[in-house]
Symmetry: C2
DNA sequence: CTACGGACACAACCATCCGTTGTGGTCTAC
DNA sequence: GTAGACCACAACGGATGGTTGTGTCCGTAG
């Protein structure tokens, strides 16, 4: 199926006559006839009844028409998503299963009229470069990497502190605890697959491990959260850290435990980054939305972040 | 933009390598390379960064990918809408701005998992023929035309009585009434454009006019509800009948009046029609839904329908 | 009844597009 | 350094799609 053909179908359906559709599309009447015939051949159905006064939709044609319109709308949005100038607001999130992704979903619910695109970049350095080149409009990141301050033309505001919880299988030594302190985690293996070395995310866990003497393994390939949960559930000596807001597809029968970490609670500090001169109108709306959400969030008290993190 | 090209893009993005995508699509690696290059040329953006270990998405490519997937989903639904066997439930409604259309919207809200297509056929005769041929699965119609009983293989159930109101401009003689009786309408011109002679809809208004001595003009072309409202608002001697449930785009400054009609209230009797042997699984759900809605609707009391209408 | 005009389909021709095979360049791993 | 993996470029052939010219059907005017 070709989109030009679909467009021809919609035009012909609206005009009611192939000739008029041909004029509108600036092609010959015979071309319209051939396109419609090809579409009908491809679908295996007759879409128009041809009469001497024009062409009327068959019942199949009527059923197909709204889908055809939708197809053209989606195609238009797809093209717009990469069109320079007036394209949708493009936001970088660190991963799909942690808080910024949820913030963007909430923003979309609050402002469904704003077109959004979400991408996932490698690290804060890549994000800053993309912000400066105008390839993205905003980025949720922990700023900044140790020893690497943000450039002057990049602005940022802390938008969310995401508390981490311990996730264990039922046979883990800490599985029965109502809560654990960070100090209690020392000596226990904590497995964080999917954390790519060299990113600010890895720097966070490096700092967390160093400060409290934890054994955090960021190695190994990431086979997805299913594989992670399977392994954690089956391995008594293994646990992982996870946002308390993460909504997982909870596997049945694994009996996993989520245990709050206290004294202090490690929180992952998400900031919104944007370029000082970015003119995208929706960026203002996004910043206002996040500020409003931030104001309503209660302070969680005794928390920990790395020393290189910009204070709130 | 061509859907095969989009499909190639999605396959290549998922595979991460053009060769693997080519194998999956059963074409040569060079064909994939050319298709992607053509897509990039058409969009004016680079979608992949080519490396010796494969091809990774650029930021533009990441932004485009979900739109591309959506495009393929919509295309699949579009094809399914005319595929014989296992196609969406196809329902005929009499017009988009009266009650059955609202019933279908409510059904869609209650069962979003059921794929629906809505068409509008000429009259109950056409609908019955389409039901018997399997082209549609259900039809909202007033059954039956006078003297023309439904065939034995078509079943029906009364699902909704739609009360009619009088719609007038501010200078109409009845504009200030809180309600009017049908008898009071005698002698006033009532204009119903868009009612096609020969349909069961026209038969309803013929009967209504004959029984109460009304002057109902079903003539003239239908230029849409905007034109109807404009004319009614500006013409003191003209009124029209309209469902009380109709949600109009209410023109500003026209000061139109909706006046209930009583003693008795004319109601338009909508029934659901379907073929006795139709095996579509969603048809059962639709009938159950309508029966449930029907049970919760209060009886409106003193109403009128033509004598040829199947009793409730 | 006939002639005309409007509207769509079919046929032939031609340009362009698309896919294939063959080849080259580049990066990585050993 | 060399082999392997991967993608791009070039050349060729078939298919696709557009145009012009023509045919057929139908409704209408005279």
């Amino acid at each position: 199926m070709d989109l030009d053909t679909v467009r021809t179908f919609v035009t012909a359906a609206d005009a009611g006559r192939f000739q008029a559709a041909a004029a509108e599309l600036a092609v010959s009447q015979q071309a319209v006839s051939k396109r419609i015939a090809a579409l009908e051949r491809g679908l295996g159905t007759r879409l128009f009844t041809r009469t001497a006064r024009g062409a009327r939709l068959t019942i199949d044609g009527q059923a197909f028409l709204p889908h055809a319109r939708e197809l053209l709308r989606v195609a238009e949005r797809a093209e717009a998503s990469v069109r320079p100038g007036r394209r949708p607001l493009r936001v970088d999130v660190i991963a799909s299963r942690i808080a910024p992704s949820g913030l963007m979903r909430a923003f979309h619910r609050a402002h469904p009229e704003i077109d959004l695109d979400v991408v996932m970049l490698f690290d804060v350095g890549t994000a800053v470069a993309a912000l400066r080149s105008g390839t993205i409009d905003a980025s949720f990141r922990a700023v900044a990497m140790p020893g690497r301050p943000l450039p002057e033309d990049i602005e940022s505001v802390r938008v969310l502190d995401e508390p981490l919880q311990l996730l264990t299988g039922p046979t883990h030594a800490l599985a029965v605890a109502r809560s654990v302190t960070v100090a209690q985690l020392a000596g226990h293996r904590i497995w964080m697959p999917g954390i790519v070395p060299g990113t600010e995310w890895a720097a966070y866990y490096d700092d967390l491990g160093a400060e409290f003497g934890l054994t955090i393994e960021a190695t190994g390939p990431n086979f997805g959260s299913d594989a992670l949960l399977d392994t954690v559930a089956d391995t008594p000596a293994l646990a992982t850290l996870m946002s308390e807001q993460t909504r997982l597809v909870w596997p049945a029968g694994h009996d996993l435990r989520r245990i709050p970490v206290i004294g202090p609670t490690p929180v992952y500090p998400h900031s919104l980054l944007w370029h000082r001169d970015n003119p995208h109108p929706a960026l203002v709306t996004l910043r206002a939305h996040l500020t409003a959400v931030r104001a309503t969030a209660a302070d969680t008290g005794d928390t920990w972040t790395p020393g290189w993190v910009t204070p709130r």
